[in-house]
């Protein structure tokens, strides 16, 4: 047997004519050429910069290996920033997940007109991208000192939220603002999972005597739980890395990690590239952990639902 026919036996590609197409049969060179630009781009603009950045966290100004930058992360300012960032991310993730779940359940299993579901899904697609200055200003116009809701509450209900201690430019205010893209993100991700709750399961449970609460307690939520946990993780990572909204809303006054890093890069403070890199490393570790948790939990959940 000639080598050509051996290759033809082994190849998974279809049989065809033409000299250029003999490439199909042997090594898929053509395929590799097609994938090359992508790999090259990913290496150059994604993988290498990240690795380079991460490695420079372990290098001091003179180029020697050091752990000093990591140690410098222990300063009050940095620890404080991480603390605030983690708390805002956790708060916005938790409430975003809770409210998002409630809304998703309402539009999918709440027997509402089907037009509502598609409208909410489209809106969620838009709103989850609505971060940054536009969002910040939308909330200033709503809950700022002269915001619409603030004014209405004061004039119609006689209730001045600012006198009661509320301030939009604060932890609570920022969390509230972050919910605007966290909730839609939750709805988008959890909707398919809720769809996956087969109608037959609730019907079978009913024939076995279970009430709606018992269905959710024993079957509904246990099945959804991995997805919920995973999405919570994703929302956390999403909030942790967000900067534009915070910057627009609170300037540099609220000390969250991305803003700290931003300042470092801009050189607003003592230009300490090693510290900046260490900050970046810290951020990556946190978001990576959250995302890995998301992936692991999702895969386990999918195993059940074959």
């Amino acid at each position: 047997m000639s080598t050509v026919s051996l290759a033809a036996d082994k190849a998974t590609g279809p049989v065809s004519t033409g000299p250029a197409v003999s490439l199909w049969r042997s090594i898929p060179i053509g395929a590799w050429l097609g994938v090359l630009p992508f790999i090259a781009f990913a290496l150059l603009f994604l993988i290498v910069p990240t690795l380079f950045l991460v490695s420079s966290a372990f290098v001091d100004r003179d180029g020697n290996l050091t752990l000093q930058n990591i140690i410098d992360l222990g300063t009050d300012q940095v620890v404080n920033a991480f603390s605030i960032s983690i708390r805002i991310s956790a708060a916005s993730a938790f409430f975003g997940a809770l409210i998002g779940l409630a809304m998703a359940l309402a539009i999918i299993r709440g027997r509402l007109p089907s037009a509502i579901r598609s409208t909410v899904m489209t809106f969620s697609g838009v709103a989850s991208n609505f971060a940054g200055l536009p969002l910040a200003f939308a909330f200033i116009a709503t809950l700022g000192r002269l915001g619409l809701v603030t004014v209405i509450l004061r004039t119609v209900f006689g209730f001045d939220i600012y006198k009661s201690g509320f301030n939009l430019l604060s932890f609570v205010g920022l969390t509230l603002t972050y919910l605007y893209f966290q909730i839609p993100l939750m709805i988008l991700i959890i909707a398919p999972a809720i769809d996956g709750l087969k109608k037959e399961w609730s019907e079978a449970a009913a024939t076995l005597g279970a009430s709606r609460w018992q269905f959710w307690l024993y079957i509904g939520f246990p099945v959804l739980w991995p997805n919920l946990l995973g999405t919570l993780s994703l929302l956390f990572a999403n909030a942790f890395g967000a900067i534009a909204t915070a910057y627009a809303l609170t300037g540099s006054s609220l000390n969250i990690v991305p803003i700290l890093l931003y300042a470092q890069i801009r050189g607003d403070v003592l230009h300490n590239p090693g510290l900046g890199a260490a900050l970046a490393l810290g951020m990556i570790v946190i978001t990576a952990c959250a995302n890995v948790l998301y992936i692991v939990v999702r895969t386990r959940a999918e195993r059940w639902l074959k």
Binding site: K198, E203, L208, G209
Partner: protein, 352 residues
């Protein structure tokens, strides 16, 4: 009637402007295995779901043991149900799935476990208690679904095309198992299917439905050999049609091509010269001598093992002929001329 276990009176269901169930009356005796048989869209599943409580009838009554359950919630009807898509709870193992109804009813743990063991033995899956649904085959999952439905000792068992999603071989063995278990427990069962072989093989009675109406109710033997309407005759089993003309209405004779035959089943309303359709089952058509003899040519031969299925062209009429395999005689070849014999008493005259 006092002995009715399940009664359905003038049941009607309309979806929007669409009438899916058009006034159905049925009564089921205790311990009976009744099949609702019909093509898709005939309303059989809708009727089942109304018995279960998942659809509310537009009008009509459903009563069990004399009590009206039409407005009762599904989780209070004490009915076991098995679905086409198994519907086992994916987050629980086999044992927990089977025990679910018992847990809801408040049975103590030890008793539950004993009952689960009992059910697992009943379905032939003893020792599978700790497995999860995704580890089981389709047939095994369906058996667990059956055990789950039967564990709380329901009054009735409803099965919605439970075998349609399974492989052919499993379908046959599982339907026999279902029937065996049903007999052993003596539980009233309503079975929905579109597969007439399934219906014929395991039912006590069959209800044939078409477009929301009942066409015929009866035992399998009756339904097959004495179909009340043309629909039942063609839907259940194969039916042959011979076109003939009435010769003498009084003597009940007709002409089939050039042959004259006497058909006892010819209705009194027949008119001389009228065209009639003579129908008979494939096994009523033989290669032996009978009252009516017709000449023809073999158009197709299908050797199916124990059964030989021939298609014979009788001067324009094409008939199916089923005969058993005879080891000594090979089936006739394609194109052979044959003489076909039909007993006049096997011929039915059905409406168009």
């Amino acid at each position: 009637m006092a002995e009715d276990f399940l009664r359905i009176d003038k049941l009607v269901k309309t979806f929007g402007g669409n009438s899916v169930v058009k006034g159905v009356d049925l009564s089921f005796r205790r311990g009976e295995f009744v099949t609702l048989l019909g093509p898709s869209g005939c309303g059989k599943t809708t009727i089942l779901r109304m018995i279960a409580g998942f659809e509310r009838p537009t009008s009509g009554l459903i009563s069990v043991e004399g009590k009206d359950i039409t407005d009762l919630a599904p989780n209070q009807r004490k009915i076991g149900m098995v679905f086409q898509a198994y519907a086992l709870f994916p987050n629980m193992n086999v044992g927990d799935n089977i025990a679910f109804g018992l847990k809801i009813a408040g049975m103590p743990k030890a008793q539950r476990e004993a009952r689960v063991e009992e059910m697992l033995k009943l379905i032939g899956l003893a020792g599978y208690g700790k497995r999860f649904p995704f580890e089981l085959s389709g047939g095994q999952q369906q058996r667990v679904a059956l055990a789950r439905a039967l564990a709380p000792s329901p009054k009735m068992l409803l099965l919605d095309e439970p075998l349609s999603a399974l492989d052919a071989k499993i379908r046959v063995s599982l339907r026999e198992q279902i029937r065996e278990i049903q007999r052993e427990l003596g539980i009233t069962t309503v079975f929905v299917t579109h597969d007439q072989e399934e219906a014929l093989s395991i039912s006590d009675r069959i209800v044939v439905l078409n477009a929301g109406n009942i066409e015929q109710v009866g035992q399998p033997f009756e339904i097959y050999n004495k179909p009340a309407t043309r629909f039942v005759a063609t839907f259940v089993g194969t039916l042959n049609t011979l076109h003939a003309t009435v010769a003498d209405a009084g003597a009940k004779t007709v002409t089939i091509g050039t042959t004259i035959a006497t058909i006892p089943a010819l209705p009194a309303s027949a008119v001389r010269g009228e065209a009639v359709a003579l129908t008979m089952r494939p096994e009523a058509v033989t290669l032996a001598d009978r009252d009516i003899m017709l000449e023809g040519k073999v158009a197709e031969v299908a050797f199916l093992g124990s059964v030989i299925r021939l298609k014979v062209d009788l001067g324009g009429n094409l008939v199916n002929l089923d005969t058993f395999n005879d080891q000594r005689t090979p089936p006739p070849a394609h194109g052979t001329s044959v003489r076909v014999g039909i007993a006049a008493s096997d011929v039915l005259v059905l409406g168009a």
